[in-house]
């Protein structure tokens, strides 16, 4: 129990960006556009956040929350703008979505490093100080739940909790969500019902870009503190979590939390005597092996949006 309480906050911190990116993927795929470019969008978000936050920190002082929030805001905007490339190629031009997503990954990876070099003379952009985890007053005093959920929390964690709730509500309880899902299941029918499929898909892809950008920014202002050209493959892990979570917000929450915990346990296992008996390699491979098995098991009952990956062609029936 004590050990669990120790690693819980770190696992949550690791889960949150994964959750953000995965939710982004959810919006995109539910509308019928596969967004394999999540990784690239996260990289661009992380870069933007690093540049803006580090510049603002010199003005407002290190660790100033205003500077960090501005960085996150910029990351959201840039992520959204960048995803327009993917939207344009895969929706308007009806290009292969996997290829345009891969292109996003490649462009983001090289462009950000190029810009970082031109700006700082180094491939890395560093912020002086990120968010400081804090305990929530009163709530952190609750037995069991307090130490797990309300100690050492980042402001961004609560932001993501709110985003998750809103995302769930929007997808399942609003006309917009219904239309979005219709576009991903059977765009022709949606079109016949008078929904502008192109517009819905554009909105969904831009939302996914914004959330992936936010995810990249969160990585930077919480645990990494330095942009170094990549986000350690979290974008692809987010895609896996999306499938593992069966394209449902709460399923994704479970899947990302699973990844977050498994990765954290693997990371800190060496420091915690209770875990150190298990070979580290086993712990590190664990989440990926489980994902593979889960994908095999779920493959028959997989509830992927039916039109996901197919460009919408109005003339096709």
């Amino acid at each position: 129990m004590h050990t669990l309480a120790l690693i819980f906050p770190y696992a949550v911190a690791f889960t949150v960006p994964l959750l953000a990116a995965s939710l982004g993927g959810l919006f995109s795929e539910r509308s019928g556009v596969v967004n394999i470019g999540l990784e690239g969008l996260m990289v661009s978000g992380s870069f933007t956040c690093a540049v803006v936050a580090s510049r603002m920190e010199t003005v407002l002082g290190p660790g100033n929350p205003g500077a960090l929030w501005m960085g996150l805001g910029a990351a959201v905007v840039v992520g959204a703008l960048f995803s327009l490339l993917h939207a344009f190629a895969s929706i308007s031009l009806k290009a292969n979505q996997v290829i345009s997503g891969t292109a996003i990954n490649m462009i983001a990876g090289s462009l950000t490093v190029f810009l970082a070099r031109t700006m700082t003379g180094s491939g890395n952009v560093r912020i002086v100080l990120g968010f400081i985890p804090s305990d929530i007053p009163v709530l952190s005093g609750i037995p069991i739940l307090g130490p797990l959920f309300f100690t050492k929390t980042y402001a961004t964690t609560w932001l993501m909790a709110a985003v998750l709730a809103v995302a769930w509500f929007v997808i399942y309880k609003t006309p917009f969500g219904l239309r979005l899902r219709a576009c991903g299941e059977h765009p022709q029918t949606a079109d016949a019902a008078g929904i502008n499929v192109y517009r819905m898909r554009y909105i969904a892809v831009v939302l996914s870009g914004a959330l992936a950008g936010l995810a990249g920014g969160i990585i930077l202002v919480t645990y990494s503190g330095e942009f170094n050209g990549n986000v350690a493959g979290l974008g692809f892990l987010a895609l896996a979590a999306l499938i593992f979570g069966q394209w449902k917000p709460l399923g994704i929450l479970g899947a990302t939390a699973f990844f977050g915990f498994a990765a954290t346990i693997a990371n800190v296992s060496q420091v915690i005597p209770q875990f150190s008996r298990i070979p580290g390699l086993l712990l590190k491979a664990f989440p990926y092996v489980v994902t593979l098995i889960a994908l095999v098991l779920f493959s028959k009952s997989s509830q992927a949006p039916r039109a996901s990956g197919e460009p919408f062609d109005q003339g096709k029936r």
Partner: protein, 360 residues
């Protein structure tokens, strides 16, 4: 519409092309006496470690002796990639070539016979054909560092400053240079405990090798777990993993808790600054890579290039040690450490490079 876009695109391309040309046209120094080339290892020229240190040494020699200097970054990290760039440098007249990192061992083994009239400096490695049988050619110098001595000084300094408490170590991969840092650090702490009246403990569970040099998240999480368990000082010899650890220390220091990091390879004080000029870097266990590169170039100019030899940079020739200025160390600690460093230089204190009875 389409033609407008293409006009804009062509415009951008032209600007880029012109910018690209402009950068290459650096004025050539007047008739340099020697051309010094460098091939980078994995990572970039500004990696705050090997490549950067080597390049700084080369640049310093370049300005001081008015030499022509150039570095090439291979497209990959295989022997063929490295050899290609060495060949490119050689063909362009760069016949003094510095290569950092043990990954160049087999490359230099081939290059030293292929380009017999060129000189090679291999930092942190020794040429061999892949069979670990070292053959340092007459035109090659192989340079090693006494990481254990560097770790030792840093360990003594950290122990003297903290007096009591628990220390930890985070390493990158479990490879000899990192291991030697670890053992040296533990020896330093042990020395301070036995001879200087400090009471520092290092628990086995707080001495770990993360297994990579780039997992920032793991660095942060491991450091956090160690600090949670009461560790006050972490020696992070782990590249990007260390960046995560420093980040965690900054967050804690800002919240008013005790969390120190001992830096590695170069003076990392600036990396640990969290507010004003306050840094979480207690001190750094340095390898003077730049000094090694500079010294070899100087030796070549003086016609004393130690070809065929394997050199070790240690306390005796100021090749390792802690920074001259450590704002987080008390003046008396700094003085005491300098005293001990002198004892190491004259051989009174010897630091073994092996594991001995120490952890991992």
């Amino acid at each position: 519409m389409k033609s407008k876009i293409s006009v804009v695109l062509i415009g951008i391309l032209l600007v880029l092309a012109v910018a690209g040309c402009a950068k290459k046209e650096a004025p050539a120094p007047a008739a340099p006496s020697m051309k010094v080339g460098m091939v980078t290892d994995a990572g970039t020229i500004d990696d705050k470690s090997f490549n950067q240190g080597t390049w700084e040494g080369v640049l310093r020699a370049g300005t001081e002796f008015k030499l022509d200097t150039k570095y090439l970054k291979p497209s990959g990290t295989t022997e063929a990639d490295y050899l290609k760039e060495i060949g490119n440098l050689y063909d362009a007249g760069y016949k003094f070539i510095v290569t950092p990192g043990f990954k160049f061992e087999t490359t230099i083994f081939q290059a030293q016979t292929k380009y017999a009239d060129a000189k090679f400096v291999l930092i942190d490695g020794s040429p061999h054909a892949g069979d670990w049988k070292n053959v340092v050619g007459p035109n090659t110098v192989s340079i090693f560092f006494a990481e254990h001595e560097s770790g030792f000084v840093a360990g003594v300094a950290a122990a003297l400053q903290m007096k009591t408490g628990s220390f930890g170590f985070i390493g990158g991969m479990e490879i000899p240079p990192v291991q030697k840092f670890n053992w040296g650090f533990q020896r330093g702490v042990d020395y301070a405990n036995k001879n200087l009246g400090t009471k520092i403990t290092i628990k086995a569970e707080n001495v770990i090798y993360q297994g990579s040099f780039d997992n920032v998240a793991a660095g942060q999480q491991i450091a956090a777990s160690m600090y949670d368990k009461g560790v006050t000082v972490i020696f992070a010899a782990a590249g990007g993993v260390g960046v995560g650890a420093i980040n965690e220390a900054k967050a804690r220091a800002t919240a008013g808790k005790t969390a120190w990091i001992v830096g590695v390879d170069v003076d990392q004080y600036a990396d640990g600054i969290y507010t004003g000029d306050k840094s979480v870097i207690l001190t750094s266990a340095m390898k003077r890579i730049d000094v090694a590169a500079f010294d070899m170039i100087k030796a070549e100019l003086d016609k004393t290039f130690p070809g065929g030899k394997t050199l070790t940079f240690d306390a005796k020739n100021n090749g390792v040690g802690i920074p001259a200025k450590n704002p987080n160390l008390a003046p008396e600690v700094q003085a005491k450490v300098e005293e001990i460093f002198k004892l190491m230089q004259n051989g009174t204190i010897t630091v073994p490079a092996d594991q001995g009875t120490f952890i991992k």
